[in-house]
Symmetry: D2
Subunit: 333 residues, 4 copies
């Protein structure tokens, strides 16, 4: 089913930070996100390719983590249909009025069955397109948000929710080893790229990272050089390298509070209606890094906690049903 | 309207050549297209990112030009709906049986109101994905078909057909100078990129070029070096350079019979439901080449003739209604 | 002879400008040269790879052009030997005291037999190396000076002076067409690259351009994008493209007063003692641009006038002995 | 002293392999070295930028390792002067007649004081230059040999030999930590790049690697992709990444027998006569990899054994005087 309540794409993410000034320095001064607007508690950021108000919100908080992540839907009717689905599924939902989040129209915020804070919105203020204002390019020259990657204790159920209920298309999967392989991770898309959201087996609900697109491999190399010479050596957790899954070129970064983003470029167009998911085995050494480099254990063990839409508290996490982990971890923790 | 009879993307193009061996040398040995299969009169080619049987057919013919170009549709139902629309619009259509074109399911071939041979198909044989078989990369390392660009004597009517009837979304337009600007060219998409088809004012029906995606700017530079040292200096008609429209990096090539393709990389994702077309003026020197280099007159004056689906003869061409031409042509013809 | 009075490399050039503020904007704000120091009438600039005080001086003047260009020599003894050679050759010379040019030790300034103002120096103040201060990279990310290219009415005599007297090594030559080919241009080096100075047949004494090295092709593309979106579209005179001679990737720029520099990358190491000059014919279409693009006539006809070390006036120019010009000029003037 | 017996550059290296067919596959079919000629026991290879007969010899042997490494000297007189120095220094030397090594003139082979087999030669047959034959580019598109890196038990003595006797120039050093820093490694050059030979403290005499230049970072990324998809995943030992020392971008490879080469690009021009060596501390995490990635222990512990010019046997190795090792090793062995 290609319809998907007209969900269009991964839209934006709200990262929580205790030191808004330091976060602004990292995301704006170093990485080159563009400030659309800001107030005492928030900075609203967009990429050079964005025509929308924001793809990243930095929000002052007592603790780092994720406030919510959001998908853009093509119409108000789509929002209502999702609200109806949520109610029918026993999922908590509430409407955010237009402007409750700066630049955004009326939006539906849900706490899904697994505790994730997910927002759906149809309207957002348009902003000046900077794609050809090359004099505005800075740092990692971030273009736009590409995807979310979440750590989930029950990937099979999440897959059912995203694919069979919300209409996402599966492009790639990872399965456990052995005679009865189980679904260990899935890459799902609405827009015509590799993914808008990836579901990975792990303690959750947590958000592993948000992936932001850059123009090319050179941008990632240049960002690594810049971070390394600007006092942000420790921010580079993994990469640069090429992924097996997605084929993209990547660099994973942690901000000073541990929030994680990915610089990402070079996946593929997945518009074909007969797309059969690509299948990877959990222990394939080229699955995560096509060049075979081991993945640091921190990358597997650590992720961002999420805040409950119901009560504003950080969610408790549960262990995953599937215990399998790749055996090529660098310093297994 | 986002539905568009579930048209998914620009799918493939059939180029007519009198010397199939020479054409194979150019497209396969030099540019690196992958041969899926061939017979005495055809070579079926795909790109490294394609999972489908072909995106380019070379067909032996008495004269160069275009046999047809084709859009992929997501289902048989979509094909039938287009057939119904064609009949209601007084447009010639006929069904091609499964296998009439190698690797392709049942397809609908129309001669549109303007004489263009346009095919719609829903099914195509799947082929091995070579995206991560880097040992297969050759020449220009062509990834996939991106778009068609057609020379049209009546862009306004074509715009109505593609946008209002077939459901394409307009991403960018060029307008004539003066107080009452007219639509001079339009970039239209179904997949979430800048375009699947561009309509340009000119003598038609003719196909100006088919655009094929490569991975990055370096691939285009490398292709230019390779062509220049392999006896194909004259094949490079325009570029490398950056476009204003689409923001893509490009190189235009002519095969030995004058058929034109574009190597293309680096446009943008256009999934937003509220996308407002970007507007360019005809004489903006940065519209075609962002760096301001003049465009050779051959690029404006020459294009590929198309064969009628009705009778197999090449179509007569008409002069466009709008006479305006950019005033920055290099050697205006 | 490899000794060459221990001449080490092309060292720096003094460009004359009438509007020092506008020049500073172009070279510093846009192109990213680093300011070492400045006063009311001069800005001393270096590249990111330079460990020396300056490779480019902008000097306020009544008229644009070149004050002098300079070669670095490895010792004071080398300077004295050149002075001796100058006197023996009837060439005007005078000593500049240490500090007469900021940051520079005692230097020998000559007006060569052809009227060119050429300086030789052995000592220059050391400055902080910014090669790994990636946070300082801006604009075209200029690394260092690579070479000078001069328009000369008598290339054969200049060749004799530079090669047989000063000890330069010839890496490439261009010869006229016909049965008795004459030397039309020569590329000469002291450091182990393609050249430190190129001699080209033309009205002279004039300096055609100074070539500055950037890290890679991407830096040149990025510079073109930046110039095109910053109001400097007209500054791009020729390129980007690849040279036949030198194999380098290039972009030629004119500042607002017409002074010309080249962004240059990717030539070769020429250290071999048995290096035989590569030979090009004047009309080879790949000689200047390997991809065959025609060269604008302005590039051939225009060059920078030079100031006499004797009297500070701009030199009169003479027509070259050899009248041959390439026949692929774009708009021959 | 810049003279250095007119030593010009690192010239070539002879790698010993037990399986010449497999080695040829790796170096020629995968990495793209060009075969100049071959016989039953040798393959003579050059890079795309080479105008000389070979920069790499593969020689059939009972055991892998290094037969000899060689520096090019500008004249026969230089060879004789080195022979005189060798004799005066009590160093073993013998002359190889012209043609004893294919394509090479008379050469001097020494076993230096530390057991290394070092050759000096002044003449080598010229070969077709392939730099602009882009149709010949394959695999990693290797351009030329850049440098040798040797593991030495006594770097201070080796430094004295190379700098004070043979006339190399020191561009960078690594020193041990502590109040009385000792010389731990040195980068020395004759040609105007970062180095022709690096001396590193370790068990020796062994050769750590030979560094070969490629055109740019993209070539290294592409090589990594190619190796990873061609069954050579295990060949990639370290990288891609950027060095602190030399600033070059790198990828270290092991052939199937453990011989190690480096793909290398992007260092600097070091021609300045007043060059002061850049100084690094042994434990600086950015010294080896500017981006801070740890270095695999194998990279530190393993190196190529060398064959004695005197008796053709592999040399015994000694422990270094200085025991310090960087503390950032990945899996210290």
């Amino acid at each position: 089913m290609e319809r998907g309540f007209d969900i269009v794409k991964a839209g934006h993410i709200e990262l929580l930070v205790t030191d808004l000034g330091e976060a602004r320095k990292f995301y704006v001064d170093i990485l080159g996100f563009v400030v659309t607007e800001s107030d005492r508690s928030h900075v609203y950021l967009r990429g050079l390719e964005d025509r929308q108000h924001h793809c990243l919100i930095l929000t002052r908080s007592d603790s780092p983590g994720v406030g919510h992540f959001a998908f853009r839907v093509s119409s108000e009717a789509g929002l209502k249909a999702i609200d109806k689905l949520a109610k029918a599924s026993g999922v908590y939902s509430r409407w955010k009025e237009s402007g409750e989040e700066r630049g955004q129209g009326r939006a539906l915020l849900i706490e899904d069955q697994f505790g994730f804070p997910v927002e759906f919105y149809a309207k957002m203020a348009s902003e000046e397109w900077l794609l050809q204002k090359f004099q505005r390019y800075r740092g990692a020259k971030v273009m736009r948000l590409d995807h979310f990657n979440i750590m989930h204790p029950d990937v099979a159920s999440a897959y059912d929710w995203y694919v069979n209920k919300l209409g996402f298309v599966c492009t790639e999967v990872t399965e456990t080893e052995g005679k009865k392989p189980e679904l260990w991770a899935a890459w799902l898309r609405r827009k015509h790229t590799c993914h808008d959201i990836a579901l990975t087996t792990g303690k959750g609900p947590r958000v592993h990272h948000a992936g932001f697109t850059v123009a090319d491999r050179a941008s990632i190399m240049d960002a690594a050089d810049l971070l390394a010479s600007s006092g942000y050596l420790k921010s580079m957790e993994r990469g640069p390298g090429r992924h097996g899954v997605s084929n993209a070129f990547f660099l994973y970064l942690r901000d000073s509070e541990g929030n994680r983003i990915e610089l990402y470029t070079g996946d593929y167009i997945s518009a074909d209606p007969d797309w059969v998911p690509l299948r990877w085995k959990l222990n394939d050494p080229q699955r995560q890094t096509f060049w075979g480099a081991p993945t640091p254990a921190s990358w597997f063990n650590e992720a961002m906690f999420v805040r409950s839409p119901k009560n504003g508290k950080f969610q408790q996490v549960s262990l995953p049903k599937i215990k399998d982990r790749p055996d090529y971890l660098l310093n297994a923790g």
